[in-house]
């Protein structure tokens, strides 16, 4: 018993203190996977904000886009052309979704739309495998001139190992967020998007039809998904296993709130770091693999204190 308590409350912190370099390393890795969670969460937020749809398919879109990219390249298409084409595919997908799912189901209860995105998930999985086969693929990092190798930075008498690809990921992520921020706050579309988030009528008044907006956000989400896919693919490889990892974005959403972009980013970081630390310092105690749920528990605990999430505005219930 005492041993357990020691294991939980003392030992980990002792370790942190004695081997700070490991701590930093863990933090870094946490941050990196956090960035990727954040990107997926970003896709959710975009769509949820603009169309109120809880897009379960976001995870699959990540995989699907990556698959397409690699698949096209495998069939002898130059990397950048493949990239362009994949983006086009995501655009087509956005149109298709708007036409086939959103339009017929407009003003159905959220749960129905949620279910529909499930259908989409199944559909994309099946389609992806039909076209490119089920077996894992290797991301075409070098064709896309993604950096490889790593930096080694000495700290606290130890070393901090940083994969260049991770650094790149971090950078690209921040660029993308910046871009979206601009899109949202500086452009007419952005205003429309934010208007939709409040009320659909408002959006129309800005002079952009709901349909257009939906297409735009789904496309944006698609592009984000593609980026995520590339990054992720570059670190591990491209397969539908990613789908489960995509679910990690959900606790991020809880932390960050379903409608807040900064929330998604910060949430992503917290979750990423939190679970890495948890795994590294507390994991052995509980038998490893706690990654799979630790994030959720963090989120859950958090929820009990702030139901509206990190940046979500407080809800006053009226009658």
């Amino acid at each position: 018993m005492t041993h357990l308590l020691y294991g939980i409350f003392i030992d980990p912190f002792v370790q942190m203190g004695t081997a700070p370099d490991l701590l930093v390393q863990t933090l870094w890795e946490g941050l990196v996977s956090g960035v990727l969670y954040a990107l997926i969460a970003l896709g959710f937020v975009l769509i949820f904000k603009a169309s109120g749809v809880f897009n379960f398919a976001q995870g699959i879109m990540v995989v699907f886009s990556a698959l397409t990219l690699v698949g096209l390249n495998e069939n002898g298409m130059p990397a950048y052309l493949a990239l362009a084409l994949t983006i086009a595919v995501m655009l087509v997908l956005a149109f298709a979704v708007e036409r086939v799912i959103l339009r017929p189901l407009v003003n159905q209860p959220d749960i129905i739309l949620f279910m529909a995105t499930f259908g989409l998930t199944y559909f994309l999985i099946g389609l992806g495998e039909l076209i490119f086969g089920g077996d894992p693929k290797v991301m075409i990092s070098d064709q896309l001139q993604l950096p490889s190798g790593s930096y080694r930075i000495p700290i606290f008498g130890g070393y901090l190992q940083m994969q260049k690809i991770d650094v790149a990921a971090a950078i690209i992520a921040s660029l993308m967020v910046a871009a979206l921020a601009v899109l949202f706050n500086r452009t007419r579309i952005g205003r429309a998007l934010r208007a939709v988030a409040d009320s659909h009528k408002a959006a129309l008044s800005v002079g952009i039809s709901l349909e257009q907006i939906w297409v735009i956000v789904w496309f944006a989400a698609g592009v984000v998904a593609l980026a995520t896919g590339i990054m992720w693919g570059a670190r591990s490889n491209v397969s539908f296993a990613l789908e489960i990892i995509a679910l990690k974005a959900l606790p991020v959403l809880i932390l960050g709130g379903f409608t807040s972009i900064p929330g998604a980013i910060i949430g992503g970081m917290i979750i990423g770091v939190g679970e890495k630390i948890g795994e590294f310092y507390w994991g052995p105690l509980l038998g490893s693999g706690i990654e799979s749920w630790f994030a959720y528990v963090i989120a859950l605990v958090f929820l009990l204190f702030r139901p509206q999430g990190l940046f979500g505005e407080r809800i006053i219930e009226r009658l």
Partner: protein, 358 residues
């Protein structure tokens, strides 16, 4: 057209609130039950029983459970698989602790363990709503499936890390384990499902059901009427998980015969959720229709190519079925967002006013 309701007047509230107030419905349900209990066992092949009827019944029960929570109380849950797992493993442990206790009793008991766990994970439901809650239940799902893998005690430290169902007998007849005949297993599953469905029907048409629906439709108003939201929601979680638990236990003991944690993973939860949505939220009948459709569809799709004399390697067929199922789900949602149950209702109404349209 089939309905002839003239002269079916009610002289008491009892008659008016009966489960099936219309004579023709009473006849219909009797016929169905007769077929299920007598006709099927006499005729059905063990394939039909093992890979269609038993699964559909078991899944229907799980769907019913989820429907009580999501359809009637409006609490979206993605933890169904986990709760089923709790039932299954609880039942397994019980059989090891009480080897001589009647297996059916154990199956039902294991429901209570699921109920307990379900209640615990229902606790957040007071503070958080909608998709937030869904994600919370997802936590339950992941945590539980982690437990199923990481806690060997649950599967008695089997090397296979899975449940092997011992052979149990009822009145000398083996009902679980490899030697149990499909018919016996079918009959037991059927009885349990029928019984619990009746219970569910009673719950939803009475006070408790109404409080659930009240919370679903307008929780604030419900509270001002004097309904205790917390109790109501937790009760819903408990009852729902109980059903899922029993379903899980039956799934392992009366259907699969063995199971590892995979059987209770997130996908299972989603599958059940599909059944409820496609079948019809807030309709017990829907749970059955949904289960039948979602389970039946892939079987049909797999059979289809052979039927048309095409030869496709199974992998492709598998992927194709994914595409089709996905498309069909979307299709159904668009055609009738309220599910098959609603379709049935509409049809019934048409029959009642035949030959008029209304």
């Amino acid at each position: 057209m089939l309905y002839r309701e003239v002269g079916q007047y009610k002289t008491s509230y009892g008659a008016d609130q009966a489960l099936f107030p219309i004579l023709q419905d009473r006849i219909g349900i009797t016929v169905i039950l007769l077929l299920a209990f007598v006709g099927v066992p006499l005729t059905a092949s063990s394939f039909t029983l093992d890979s269609i009827l038993i699964p559909v019944l078991v899944l229907s029960l799980a769907a019913t459970g989820l429907n009580l929570l999501t359809g009637f109380t409006g609490l979206l849950s993605l933890g169904t698989g986990g709760f089923m797992g709790v039932g299954a493993f609880a039942c397994y442990k019980l059989t090891t602790f009480f080897p001589n206790v009647n297996i059916i009793v154990l199956i039902l008991c294991s429901g209570f363990f699921a109920a307990a766990v379900g209640t615990v994970f229902g606790l957040p439901s007071l503070r958080i709503k909608g998709f937030y809650l869904a994600v919370a239940t997802l936590a339950a799902q992941f945590f539980l499936s982690w437990c199923f893998i990481r806690i060997p005690w649950l599967y008695n430290y089997n090397v296979s890390a899975s449940i092997e169902v011992p052979t149990k007998t009822l009145f000398g007849v083996p009902v679980t384990g490899p030697t149990a005949s499909p018919v016996t297993r079918y009959l037991i599953v059927l009885s349990i499902v029928a019984l619990l469905t009746l219970v569910a029907a009673n719950l939803v048409r009475g006070r408790i059901g109404r409080t659930w629906m009240a919370v679903r439709d307008m929780d604030l108003a419900a509270e001002l009427i004097g309904i205790r939201l917390y109790q109501t929601k937790l009760l819903a979680f408990a009852v729902s998980s109980f059903y899922c638990g029993v379903a899980g236990a039956m799934m392992v003991f009366l259907w699969l015969g063995n199971a590892e944690s995979e059987s209770f993973n997130i996908n299972q939860s989603f599958l059940i959720l599909f059944m409820v949505i496609i079948g019809g939220l807030g309709s017990l009948l829907g749970s059955f229709l949904g289960a039948a459709l979602i389970w039946g569809l892939p079987i049909v799709l797999r059979a289809a190519p052979a039927f048309f004399g095409l030869s496709i390697q199974s992998a492709t067929a598998e992927q194709a079925s994914f595409v089709i199922v996905g498309a069909l789900i979307i299709f159904f949602l668009i055609v009738e967002p309220h599910g098959l149950a609603r379709l049935w209702q509409i049809g019934k109404q048409k029959l009642r006013v035949w030959p008029f349209p209304y």
